[in-house]
């Protein structure tokens, strides 16, 4: 049984990962590996996500009906599972993005309050 603290930290990461997956799929359906690559590329490799953790996140999003999975063939004619943003997922992404902006803004204000910039 893991301790509480650890579990909370994981949850926080997962929540962020969920948001990134949704954002990535906004550009169109993609398979798992492509999603991982896109997140890495777009974050300029700052976010080093263990690629495996993508899968629990994908399954959680499917369970919540924010994305759907379908069989398809990829560029080199290989069978692959494609993940696609649902309309619920689209709404959720907008919501989560707003929440994230708010949170990020608030944290930024706390960390660098206006007026203290010069003094410190």
């Amino acid at each position: 049984m893991s301790t509480k603290e650890q579990r909370e930290r994981i949850e926080l990461l997962q929540g962020t990962l969920d948001l990134l997956i949704l954002r990535t799929l906004l550009r169109g359906p993609a398979h798992g590996h492509a999603i991982a690559k896109a997140i890495e590329l777009n974050s300029e490799d700052v976010l080093q996500v263990e690629q495996g953790s993508l899968y629990p996140a994908l399954h959680r999003l499917i369970k919540r009906n924010w994305i759907s999975a379908e069989e398809g063939t990829s560029e080199n004619n290989r069978r692959a599972k494609f993940y696609r943003l649902t309309s619920t997922g689209r709404r959720q992404l907008a919501l989560e993005t707003r929440k994230w902006d708010k949170l990020a803004g608030a944290i930024a204000r706390i960390l660098r309050p206006a007026g203290q910039e010069g003094e410190s």
């Binding site: 049984m1 263990e50 369970k63």
Partner: protein
């Protein structure tokens, strides 16, 4: 959950595919295949863990945990069968008693009434300060209906009895004459046939009836062709136009229903005279948006106007409104609430007891819990697991309890006064089972939470080091256990005080001299309703023939007929004027109960003649008009004179009402006509032959068991008129017993519950003390070894128990003082703070507490110091 299965099945392939792609990418970047695969795997992370976490997304971990906890709980309960049996039985008693009483509460107070939107239905009666609530006069009803705006509809319901003959044995049935809109207002549609038409409230309405469902079943075999046939009521043919639905519920049994126009036709006088208050209530449906209070205010205004307008009949008459539910429940409400509160107390005591048991067992499990916490179990998880154990126990107790309730249900139903009983009876239904489930859950929390929180609190290190010995189970836990025992004693005291007060009330009530004899007197009623009794002479002949034949029966000591037998529902009151009395306001005339009786009435019922003489056969239609009055009447109106020879008349003197004076020839003792708990009222008695009437109750004093006479009396009646039904066959003893039925039911159940509480409370104290003795064996051993007399040890232990009892008793007395006042409407002749009752209950509790301490104290006294010390 097909999605779940498919997603998980393909997970392996997806992961393999992912890693292959990454490997390919790496190869493309110039790595060797081996290196590329290794890097891809490292980047992916722990495959097994990923799979596990993904699987967890789809699984119901909480459900799996719950099932594991339940299995574990069952195993733990099986491992200590003694504990489980005691706890389960305690809970079963608590939950069973609650379920049984709730089934009563539901049937009487909660079960939806079978009407459309019953919440807006209001029952209206008239009131007079002389009597209280009385029936409505039809003329007043008609004025109420035209003048009020609070009701969208207002209907009259007049209770009538009929003699039904020609189908089986002649019998007396009850019916309602109702305004034609009554059924549609109530939202009731006939099961068969038609509702009454709007015009069927006028004089001249043809005799038609709707049959009650059960009469239709019993007398017509449920034959739909009954509609259109006729039924013989009072010797007249009524056309059956339909059948009421099976779930129809009236205030009395409704064997037949007829439009009020039929009653208006048959009783032109009753329908047109405003002073005639027969047996009618009005029922109204509040207009949309009108509150009960608004309707009440409006109706009171109308009643006040009518009182001014028609002082002769309405002076000081008001109006009483009540929601229809209250009209059904009557005065049983406080008793039911009392029982419900009592049974909740029993449950609380049961929970306290089980919590105590859990704490004892928790003490022996501290090591297990500490070990689990040390191994990383969160305390939340352990609390959840222990609560699950409580739930399992509570559930098992609940199942057993409901079984007990099912068994006890019949008994409770028998205790309920008949008029309180809804037609479906008291039974266990969905609502009752729902309630039982809620109780099970609440109980589990009540007795499970404190021990669970306690179990997870101890310092892990200390517990493990202590090697599981329970010496450090801690002062806090002992305090909690003591507090639980104290609470049990307090609750038991409250219940015992309630039961004690009820017992004393009932005892005092049965000591009340009713003013008449109840031993070996049979009563039965007859109503001569057919055309052959239209003439007074025929009526008188029937009663005379009846008395002659009954008096001749072997075993009969005396027999008489009278109109108002004490303790029955039937009453007849009238204003009287006493000769020479200054004329009071119309509403202030003396308003005695009027008895029309045959000679021998006072002797048969054992009502003492205080002055003068009783009626004889000579006080007949040809003799001067005479009457008897009761003692109260004599004292009130002739305080200083001899009432014999004084005269009174019925009604108010006026030119339209030439005086017909009755001369007082005797004074009888007062009788408790309205029940033992109610004060006597003014009464006058008139010889039957001077005021013939068709409905009378025959009272027969027998030398032996009076009920043995029933069949020979029935034969006597049939030999005079084979179609004449007799009904309401009972004994005065039974009437007396019925009159205290609600109180007796309350006493029996309260006694049962408080007895249960006492036993559980005693077990509680016993448990706490004997556990503490076990804990202190070492200490006691040391004391004895150091020379402390064993008597002192005994005293110390008993003192500990008595201290708990003392605290509990103190709290209990304070609470009982407050709570007993709420039951004062159920008490008779005893104050809610009755010293004797409180003293007796305290003495009983102290005695029981002593008893509960005795065994553990003896055990403590006999502690062998050597054994106790070696035990270390």
């Amino acid at each position: 959950m097909k999605r779940r299965k498919r997603m998980l099945q393909e997970l392996d392939a997806d992961i393999r595919d992912h890693i292959e792609r990454e490997t390919q990418d790496n190869i493309d970047r110039g790595m060797s295949p081996e290196e590329a695969r290794y890097a891809a795997q490292r980047k992916f992370g722990n495959v097994t863990l990923v799979k596990e976490e993904t699987r967890e997304v789809w699984s119901f971990t909480w459900l799996e945990h719950l099932l594991a906890d339940i299995r574990f709980g069952l195993r733990m309960l099986r491992k200590s069968p003694g504990f489980t049996a005691v706890a389960m039985l305690t809970l079963a008693l608590g939950i069973g008693a609650n379920t049984a009483v709730f089934s009563l509460v539901y049937a009487v107070l909660l079960q939806p009434l079978p009407y459309k939107n019953p919440a807006s239905l209001v029952v209206l009666n008239e009131t007079t300060p002389k009597v209280g609530t009385v029936s409505v006069s039809y003329q007043n009803f008609l004025d109420w209906r035209t003048q009020s705006h609070s009701f969208s509809q207002l209907a009259a319901v007049h209770q009538i009895n009929f003699n039904l003959a020609g189908i089986s044995q002649p019998e007396n049935i009850s019916g309602d004459a109702v305004s034609p809109e009554y059924l549609s207002m109530m939202g009731v549609r006939p099961f068969l046939g038609r509702d009454f038409g709007a015009s069927e409230d006028k004089a001249g309405t043809a005799p038609i009836v709707l049959l009650g469902y059960s009469l239709w079943q019993s007398h017509f075999g449920g034959d739909p062709d009954a509609v259109g046939k006729t039924i013989s009521l009072d010797g007249r043919a009524f056309t059956i136009v339909g059948v009421l639905p099976a779930d129809y519920r009236g205030f009395d049994k409704t064997d037949v229903m007829l439009p009020i126009g039929v009653w208006v036709t048959d009783n032109p006088e009753g329908a047109s005279s405003r002073g005639e208050r027969g047996d009618m209530v009005a029922i109204g449906r509040l207009a949309p948006g009108v509150t009960f209070q608004q309707a009440k205010t409006e109706m009171e205004g109308i009643a006040a106007r009518l009182a001014k307008e028609y002082p002769a009949t309405n002076d000081r008459f008001g109006v009483a409104l009540q929601p229809i539910r209250d009209a059904f429940v009557g005065d049983a409400k406080p008793a039911i609430f009392l029982l419900f509160a009592a049974v909740l107390f029993v449950l609380l005591i049961a929970c306290a007891n089980v919590a105590n048991l859990f704490l004892v067992r928790g003490a022996s499990r501290t090591k297990e819990v500490a070990l689990r916490i040390a191994l990383g179990a969160s305390s939340g998880r352990i609390i959840r697991q222990m609560l699950t154990e409580s739930f399992v126990l509570s559930f098992l107790g609940g199942v057993l309890g409901v079984a007990l309730a099912v068994a006890g249900n019949r008994g409770i139903a028998e205790l309920i006064p008949q008029d309180m009983m809804p037609p479906g009876g008291v039974n266990l239904n969905g609502a009752v089972f729902g309630f039982a489930s809620v109780v099970v859950i609440l109980a589990a929390f009540l007795f499970g939470l404190a021990p669970a929180l306690h179990a997870t609190r101890p310092d892990v290190q200390v517990e493990l080091k202590e090697g599981g010995r329970t010496a450090s189970a801690g002062a806090a836990q002992n305090r909690l256990r003591g507090a639980l025992a104290v609470a049990e004693i307090s609750l038991a005291l409250i219940l015992l005080v309630g039961a004690g007060l009820m017992m004393k009330s009932l005892y005092l009530l049965l000591q009340v001299d009713p003013g008449f004899r109840t031993d070996r007197v049979l009563t039965l009623t007859m109503d001569l309703r057919t055309q052959q009794y239209a003439k007074d002479a025929a009526v008188l002949n029937f009663w005379q023939a009846l008395l002659d034949r009954v008096r001749a029966l072997p075993g009969v000591e005396s027999a008489a007929v009278g109109t108002v037998v004490p303790l029955t529902e039937s009453h007849s009151r009238s204003d009287v004027t006493i000769e020479g009395m200054a004329a009071p306001a119309p509403g202030d005339y003396p308003h005695p109960d009027v008895h029309l009786v045959s000679p021998g009435y006072a002797a048969t019922l054992g009502i003492p003649v205080m002055r003068g003489r009783a009626f004889t056969d000579h006080d007949n239609e040809n003799a001067p008009l005479v009457g008897m009055i009761n003692l109260m009447m004599a004292r009130r109106f002739f305080p200083k004179e001899d009432p014999i020879g004084k005269r009174f008349m019925f009604g108010h003197p006026s030119t339209a009402n030439p005086p017909k004076w009755f001369t007082v020839i005797g004074v009888l003792g007062d009788t408790k006509l309205y029940g033992l708990a109610n004060p006597a009222r003014l009464e006058v008695y008139i010889p039957l032959r001077q005021r013939p009437t068709s409905k009378m109750t025959l009272a027969v004093k027998s030398g032996a068991d009076p009920t043995a006479l029933t069949s020979s009396i029935r034969e006597a009646v049939q030999s005079i008129d084979k179609d004449q039904p007799i009904f309401a066959i009972t004994t005065m003893k039974q009437l007396e017993s019925d009159s205290v039925a609600t109180r007796r039911m309350t006493l029996v159940l309260l006694g049962l519950f408080s007895g249960l509480a006492l036993i559980l409370g005693a077990i509680g104290i016993y448990g706490v003390i004997s556990y503490s003795v076990a804990q202190r064996t070492h200490e006691i051993g040391v004391r004895i070894a150091l020379g402390s007399p064993r008597r002192d040890v005994f005293r110390m232990i008993v003192g500990q128990g008595l201290r708990l009892a003392g605290i509990g008793i103190t709290f209990g007395i304070v609470a009982a003082f407050g709570l007993a006042r709420l039951m004062s409407s159920l008490l008779f002749g005893v104050s809610a703070a009755d010293f004797e009752t409180f003293a007796a209950v305290v003495a009983l509790l102290v005695f029981v507490a002593l008893l509960a301490c005795y065994v553990p104290a003896r055990r403590a006294m006999r502690v062998d110091p050597i054994v106790a010390l070696r035990y270390e």
